[in-house]
């Protein structure tokens, strides 16, 4: 495909297109996109990198300085150390839940007749099209003592006293998984769509029970997809701090929450910048792992 575009660009018969305009043209076309990426992402990251070495004295936003204090604080201060641990734990558990649910969901859609497909895909698009704040608020009305869950359980006679699951880690996981589920689902569905369903029949004909077919046929075929889906939802879960902080217990402080707290609450710019740099590096590492995994996969496939 790229070969075709190459020859088209080089052998173009139009006389106006000199070498220079052909060489400049792509950069001209890309300039708005590059401008946005560099001016509003690259530059701010550099700015934050510098900011993270500044000091925070009295009530001023920042004082120019060169100190490692902000990074050292993350290792020494238990609040920040806990936040890193909490973020990693939340992201890990919710990503595992997301991958399991997303895998089952994608497999269901793949196995069901085609006419169900549109309805299921529309269902999976819902969490993607709804704002995170609306999702938070929806669960916020479901879990508390006077919420729908408690009312439904009491009125169905399953329990006698009202219960509240609000402000628990379980609520945080439910919300976080809800937010990351669609990404995972669509990645896995595209992997399943690439598998010929006849392998299932072949496996059954050879006498394998469904569980064995799953374990020895489907799982190896979808391994790469599972890794990609897991990494994708992990990245999202690490960055999503509003959902766990609104639904989880008060002590559930993630790095994202601390960034907001330092910036908007305490006006400690250098500290907020240092946290952001750590979060960015963490995301970059996960992305590099994905790239390595996916390049290995393509290398294996030829």
């Amino acid at each position: 495909m790229s070969g075709a575009s190459e020859t088209a660009a080089l052998d173009s018969p139009a006389p106006r297109r000199t070498f220079w305009s052909a060489a400049l043209m792509p950069w001209l076309l890309m300039s708005p996109a590059l401008l946005i990426a560099i001016a509003f992402f690259g530059l701010p990251i550099l700015f934050m990198g510098r900011m993270s070495f500044n000091a925070h004295i009295d009530q001023r936003f920042y004082v120019p300085d060169f100190t490692w204090d902000n990074y050292a604080a993350m290792l020494t201060d238990p609040t920040f150390r806990n936040a890193i641990w909490t973020t990693a734990r939340l992201a890990l558990i919710s990503s595992i839940a997301t991958v399991i649910i997303g895998y089952a969901f994608a497999m269901l859609v793949w196995l069901k007749p085609k006419r169900w497909r549109l309805a299921f895909v529309a269902l999976a698009l819902c969490p993607l099209l709804i704002s995170e704040i609306s999702i938070i608020f929806g669960w916020w009305m479901f879990f508390p003592k006077n919420g729908l869950l408690s009312y439904a359980l009491v009125s169905s006679g399953l329990i006698t006293d009202k219960i509240s699951l609000m402000y628990t880690e379980f609520a945080a996981f439910v919300g976080l998984t809800y937010v990351t589920l669609p990404f995972c689902f669509f990645i896995l569905l595209s992997i399943f769509d690439g598998i010929d369903k006849k392998v299932l029949e072949a496996s059954a004909d050879l006498g394998a029970a469904p569980l064995r077919t799953f374990h020895e046929v489907l799982l190896p075929l979808t391994k790469g997809g599972i890794a990609a889906a897991f990494a994708q939802s992990f990245i999202w879960a690490v960055g999503t701090y509003a959902t766990p902080s609104a639904l989880g217990p008060d002590t559930l402080w993630t790095i994202g929450y601390l960034i907001q707290e330092q910036m908007l609450g305490k006006h400690n710019w250098p500290r907020a910048a240092a946290f952001s740099i750590v979060l960015t590096v963490g995301v970059a590492i996960v992305m590099m792992i994905i790239r390595m995994l996916s390049s290995k996969r393509t290398a294996l496939n030829g």
Binding site: M1, S2, S5, A8, A9, S12, R16, A23, M25, P26, W27, L29, M30, P32, A33, L34, I36, A37, F40, F41, P44, I45, M48, I101, A104, F105, A124, C126, P127, L129, I130, S131, E132, I133, S134, I135, I136, F137, G138, W139, W140, M141, F142, N146, G147, L148, S150, Y151, Y178, D205, A209, G239, T240, A242, I259, Q260, L264, A272, T280, V283
Partner: protein, 288 residues
Amino acid sequence: MADTAPPMEPPKLAHTPRARLDATLLRILGLAFTVFIIAYIAIPVVVTLVMSFNEASVIRFPIKAWSFAWYQDFFASPQWVDALKSSVIIALGTTVISTVSGVLAAWAFERFTFPLKSVVYLVIMLPLFMPGVVLGLGVAMAFGNVSIFGYDIYGTRGLVMLAHSLWAMPLVFMLMEATFRTVDHRIVEASYDLGGRPVQTFFEIVLPSVSTGIISSALFAFVISLNEFVMALFLTTRDTQTLPVLMWLSLRSAGTPRLAVASVVLAGAVFVSLALIMVWYVRQLKKT
């Protein structure tokens, strides 16, 4: 299928009782999971929809009386209507910025070879994978004190549009890169052969053939911007506050059915634009 299969093949026959039990179990499991996934995805949506028609001012189930009172309250409140307006303006701006820049960059990638292509690809795509809190904070810090012609750019809607484009533009770029690959090169070359200039060819031949892709990626850009609230939280002032930001701030103080109405309005805006595009798409299909 299993019942109608001729009972000729010995392996299948030998496994029949076991296989039948397995099939029943699988069907039950599949059904249970279907119920679970529908309930899981529907719960927050249904709860919100139901609560928006509540008459009382507290969030409490069961709902005793139904009314449109909170809808009236929402549209009568200047603060909430302004936030909605701000959201729509920012989302439209983001759509224009990210669609134009994303489509052009994707075309450059499809049509040209140039040095450092993979590096440029990474530069364009990287912001999409960054947490909103990092992007919002970075832009807020870097542009917090910048003013152009004595006009502070911090707190303006334009800055929020550009920040939202950090997510929307790579998404448009990614979708359009895939879409442009489906364009038949022979048509483009035929246009060149007939004397069409590159710009003319792009606008008259290429763009119409990928209009569905452009419209869908523009819709994604619109939806992302409309729903986003972490970057907007860092970048807006009281005057430019978007609806999700206002919702987040009011959820922190107290939740009332007004928030449910705001959720419904926000989702309504998304689904209305989705429906408009469906109508456009169906018309487009009829034309050809």
